[in-house]
């Protein structure tokens, strides 16, 4: 027995050595090749001249514009009308009505806590002077979410019914999610005009995948026994779908809606570049004027709004927890404080108020129900019963609309309420601006910033840039294909080669290598900073909780909010671009490191401790190896986000494919922008597939999956 394990160990070791030697040789050859070449490696000119992808796209676009623009115009005008309608309503109604429309459902769905939070959010919009842009953002987001949910639900149901359709949709959905939104944001402009319509359509492309996916999986995961028993009772296929499968998959669908809301919000902000109104425009104007405080206020409006919608949609999909009848229900304080007498006393008036309110609502509603029942019963008795029941069951929704009508009535006939009162202003601009400005002139901080900039540029960015751009293109292509072959298989190796050839033939090889190098540098920095933070978080729960809040905020803030501080401290240029990328894409690696380490079950580390392993040894020899799959997923997500950020970094001096996209769009050269956008997508897909396959192998090796 012993000799056999020895043998396996030995063969593993020699296998490892061989792998390292191969990697070393490949790297050294690359280094030699890159020092041999004079300038950046160029794709053969005969190919790039013949392969005029850019011109084809532009011709195609012109053709579509000339012949089918009337179709898109009709679609756009419908969406536009609806959007303007909604916008006019939101902006011209008295502010209390709008506040009530938002706050009351929050109270109904999420209780007093969410109600208070949502009132704060609405107050914050008005107080920072962002009432109008906030509501415009709400209108844009609301309409796109509605359309996303409608079409996404249909597509999701279709996916769940046909395997072939599902297989067809999968790569489409992947592309929709990875493709930088800028690439289709601008062409959308030419087909659908400016403002709301193209913004909503672009948002649909970006935010629809989750609802399709989650509807599909929700329906597919309905337990087989349920389906069987339904069929045995003689349900037809349609009955089965609409009466059993879809109702049972509602939680999953609601989860999808939640994600759609979040993603739509992110893109609606970006849509300011094609003339959509809203907070995005405010933040962008603030950045233009270098007003950090203003940009942050806008960012916070979005952040608070996102949290509110997130909690609201979650609360909607969750059922109210039932408590034993002898336990006092807490409305504001956490239920776990129930053991403290003082908390009980504090909660008393709230629970009393709740009872009164509920009684009023019920009385009013049943009164209305009776009126309706009497009225309708003149014509038809049984319908009247149904209507009466329908109304009296909705003792929250009906009073809600009653309140809204009351406010509208008062505003119309008695007392004009108008817009948000100016006296309630609150501004946090100045303190934020002052803080950033004092850091800008702080000699200690600036010398640190300069040191960091010099280090990143001289030791990481420039060498890697030179290295990657100077390696001959065929060598890089061969290395990537080989990697694809080793990790995934021969088919993927061929696909990789074809995709890279496409990038080369479009004449954007150098730019893609620059993009690759800044992504790699950003990811390395994310690792160096993120993994230690993740380790600390895995050991200290309080730290983890604080960190999670910060990470949530980082991911929800529109990413151009923190471009200005980066610019002030580090100046414009590639280093700033890398740092902005790091800020944007670091959350997954931190989260997944801490998740991976905490998930390694206590027994493993206890065993290791009992054998006398130190903290470091346990971490290094037991926890890390077991957490590798989780780490790789974090790495994978970080890479994808870093690629996505490449499209924004040209705003602060980033180079590569992102700049290519921008330059293409600034000259309304869709082909050029599209080629570069596709380049980013292809690079991201190749790296994503390779790392995912590698994770799978690691898991298999660890015996985590069979």
């Amino acid at each position: 027995m012993a000799t056999r394990t020895d043998l396996i160990n030995k063969s593993n070791q020699s296998k490892n050595i061989i792998t390292y030697v191969i990697i070393g040789v490949v790297f050294l050859v690359a280094l030699w090749l890159s020092t041999q070449s004079e300038g950046p490696s160029k794709f053969p000119k005969e190919v790039t001249d013949k392969f005029t992808f850019t011109a084809w796209v532009n011709d195609g676009e012109d053709y579509l514009k000339k012949n089918y623009r009337w179709v898109t115009k009709i679609i756009a005008s419908y969406i536009k009308e609806t959007y303007y309608f909604l916008e006019d309503f939101l902006l011209e109604s008295p502010w209390i009505l709008i506040a009530a429309i938002i706050v009351i459902p929050c109270i109904i769905a999420g209780g007093l806590r969410l109600g208070i939070y949502s009132s704060f959010v609405v107050y914050f919009w008005g107080a920072t002077g962002m009432w109008e842009p906030s509501l415009q953002t709400v209108a844009l987001m609301g309409l796109s979410v509605l359309l996303c949910v409608f079409f996404g639900f249909i597509l999701g149901v279709l996916c769940s019914q046909s395997n072939r359709f599902e297989n067809f949709m999968k790569p489409v959905l992947d592309t929709m999610q990875v493709m930088p939104a800028f690439v289709y944001l601008f062409p959308a402009l030419f087909f659908f005009g400016i403002g709301g319509a193209p913004a909503i359509l672009a948002t649909m492309i970006y935010a629809m995948p989750p609802i399709i996916r989650l509807t599909n999986t929700g329906i597919r995961q309905v337990p087989a026994q349920t389906i069987e028993s339904a069929t045995s009772f003689g349900s037809s296929k349609l009955q089965l779908l609409f009466k059993i499968k879809i109702p049972l998959s509602l939680p999953s669908i609601m989860m999808g809606i939640n994600q759609v809301i979040m993603m739509a919000l992110a893109l609606v902000v970006l849509a300011c570049f094609i003339g959509a109104e809203g907070i995005g425009g405010q933040v962008w104007q603030a950045i233009r004027r270098l007003d950090v405080g203003w940009a942050m206020e806008g960012g916070l409006c979005i952040l608070f709004m996102a949290i509110m919608f997130d909690r609201f949609s979650l609360a909607f999909s969750k059922d109210v927890e039932r408590l034993p009848s002898d336990v006092q229900r807490f409305y504001l304080l956490p239920q776990s404080w129930e053991k403290y007498q003082i908390a009980k006393i504090l909660e008393m008036p709230l629970s009393f108020g709740n009872k009164i309110l509920k009684n009023i609502c019920q009385t009013v509603t049943s009164a209305i129900a009776i009126v309706f029942r009497v009225l309708v019963s003149i014509f038809n008795k049984s319908t009247a019963e149904n209507i009466g029941e329908f109304i009296s069951k909705r003792y929250y929704v009906i009073p809600y609309f009653l309140v809204l009508f009351l406010i509208a009535f008062i505003d119309h006939y008695l007392l004009e309420i108008g817009t948000f009162p100016k006296e309630w202003k609150l501004s946090i601009r100045q303190p934020i601006t002052n803080a950033v400005e004092s850091l800008t002139v702080n000699p200690g901080f600036i010398s640190f910033a300069k040191g960091l900039r010099a280090f990143v540029y001289l030791n990481l960015l420039r060498p890697l840039d030179v290295f990657l751009t100077q390696i001959p293109w065929w060598y890089t292509l061969a290395v990537f294909s080989a990697l694809g072959y080793v990790t995934v298989g021969i088919r993927f190796a061929i696909i990789t080669a074809v995709l890279l050839l496409f990038i080369g033939a479009c004449g954007i090889w150098t730019q893609s290598m620059i993009t690759l190098s800044s992504v790699l540098v950003s990811v390395v920095l994310c690792f160096v900073i993120g993994v230690p933070l993740g380790i600390i978080a895995s050991y200290n729960e309080r730290f983890r909780n604080i960190q999670n809040v910060v990470l949530d905020a980082m991911q929800t803030l529109p990413y151009f909010c923190y471009l200005i501080p980066v610019l002030m401290f580090f100046g414009g240029g590639t280093v700033s671009a890398v740092l902005a990328t790091v800020i944007y894409s670091i959350p997954p690696i931190i989260r997944l490191t801490s998740l991976g380490l905490t998930q390694v079950s206590g027994t493993y580390s206890e065993v290791s401790r009992s054998f006398g392993g130190t903290l470091i040894q346990t971490l290094n020899k037991v926890k890390f190896p077991l957490a590798i799959p989780s780490l790789v997923i974090g790495f994978n997500q970080t890479v994808i986000m870093a690629f996505a950020m490449q499209i924004v970094t040209p705003l602060i001096g980033g180079k590569g494919l992102g700049l290519e996209v921008f330059n293409g769009l600034a000259r309304s050269d869709t082909g050029r922008g599209l080629a570069a956008g596709i380049g980013i997508v292809l690079l991201a897909i190749i790296i994503d597939r390779i790392t995912l396959a590698w994770t799978k192998k690691q898991r298999e090796a660890l015996g985590l999956i069979s």
């Binding site: 400016i194 962008w284 004027r289 270098l290 610019l567 002030m568 414009g572 280093v575 970094t649 309304s668």
Partner: protein, 334 residues
């Protein structure tokens, strides 16, 4: 099922509610672009305020980045007008305008495009672009013109530019500044860095100024930066053009005597709009107004200071200016 009914009830009722309160407005409407730099925003806001206050208009405004996309949006009728286009920077004007630009009775520009965009008239602002250094650096180092820059290039160097000096250049390639070409032709051993946006360039310049470091910056005037920070121009050679001296011609002949070895031309800025909109009888008054409008640099500069340095609201500042200076704009009314 309970959930879906709740949701559908909500949606339906909100729709009903919207239906019962939405109302249309009867005023004359135009749709204007809000520019992406403060000077342009103010010029347009002056026009918008006068149209709304004096001529019964209701103007919808949309933030839109300047560039060819904006011109196409106006040609397509998505937007009705935009303000203060700078001829040195616009690419679309030569293709889309078909009119002479007249400033105070003199023809200052001739266009022979397809006429898909209507030249509404001059905005009044005359723009100048140059390279600038902060006064403290000019005095300390004794730099008077661009010829002195090479002596002190080490002072202007950064990590990225190495031994050469660094120019915080024209931020967007689409503006056709040809910074690097100009530096090379004039023999200035500096590297032009294109930072992607005005914000990026200004942020770096502002931070450097606050730290009292020397820097060389491309910028146009009037700009709020000059109201807050004391900058001096490096006096590039006067603007000259030479027909065979273009990028397409690979910069043949003419040596260093012509653009882009020289500075920029004076920019007589203009307002432009959709031809169909302004040809209609309904908007004839608006067209007349735009023909007469002419905002002076000094007035824009004053408002720039209020808006960008004192951080006041644009609409408030513009209305205050209109209230206090009726003599300056009453004559623009048709």
């Amino acid at each position: 099922m309970k959930l879906s009914k709740k949701i559908s009830a909500l949606i339906l009722s909100v729709a009903l509610l919207i239906g019962s309160f939405g109302q249309a407005n009867a005023a004359k409407r135009l749709h204007a672009a809000i520019a992406d730099w403060t000077g342009g925003i103010i010029t347009c806001e002056v026009a918008v305020a006068i149209l709304e206050r004096e001529m019964g208009y209701k103007i919808k405004q949309t933030v839109f980045p300047s560039g060819t996309g904006l011109w196409e949006a106006i040609a397509a009728g998505e937007l009705d007008f935009a303000c203060e286009s700078w001829p040195s920077y616009a690419e679309a004007d030569t293709v889309m305008l078909k009119e002479d630009l007249i400033y105070e009775g003199k023809v200052v520009g001739t266009y022979s495009g397809d006429g898909s965009v209507d030249l509404l008239g001059t905005a009044g602002i005359i723009g100048m672009s140059d390279y600038w250094i902060p006064r403290y650096a000019a005095e300390e180092l004794g730099i008077k013109t661009w010829k002195d820059l090479n002596k002190h290039k080490a002072k202007f160097a950064t990590i990225e530019s190495g031994k050469r000096g660094r120019l915080i250049g024209c931020p967007v390639a689409g503006w056709n500044c040809h910074d690097q070409k100009r530096l090379d032709l004039l023999g200035i051993d500096f590297q032009a860095d294109e930072l992607g946006t005005e914000a990026a360039a200004i942020a770096e310049a502002k931070a450097a100024y606050m730290r009292k470091e020397p820097f060389l910056l491309y910028l146009w005037s009037p700009h709020w930066f000059f109201g807050e920070y004391d900058m001096v121009g490096v006096q590039l050679p006067e603007h000259k053009t030479c027909d065979s001296f273009t990028e397409a011609n690979n910069w043949k002949d003419c040596g260093t005597a012509a653009w882009p070895a020289t500075g920029w031309a004076k920019d007589y800025t203009m307002n432009y709009g959709n031809p169909a909109t302004f040809a209609s009888a309904e908007h004839a008054d608006a067209k007349k107004f735009f023909e007469k409008m002419s905002l002076q640099n000094i007035d824009q500069a004053k408002m720039l200071v209020e808006v960008d340095i004192k951080k006041r609201d644009v609409k408030e500042v513009v209305n205050e200016w209109l209230d206090n200076n009726p003599d300056k704009w009453k004559s623009w009314l048709p």
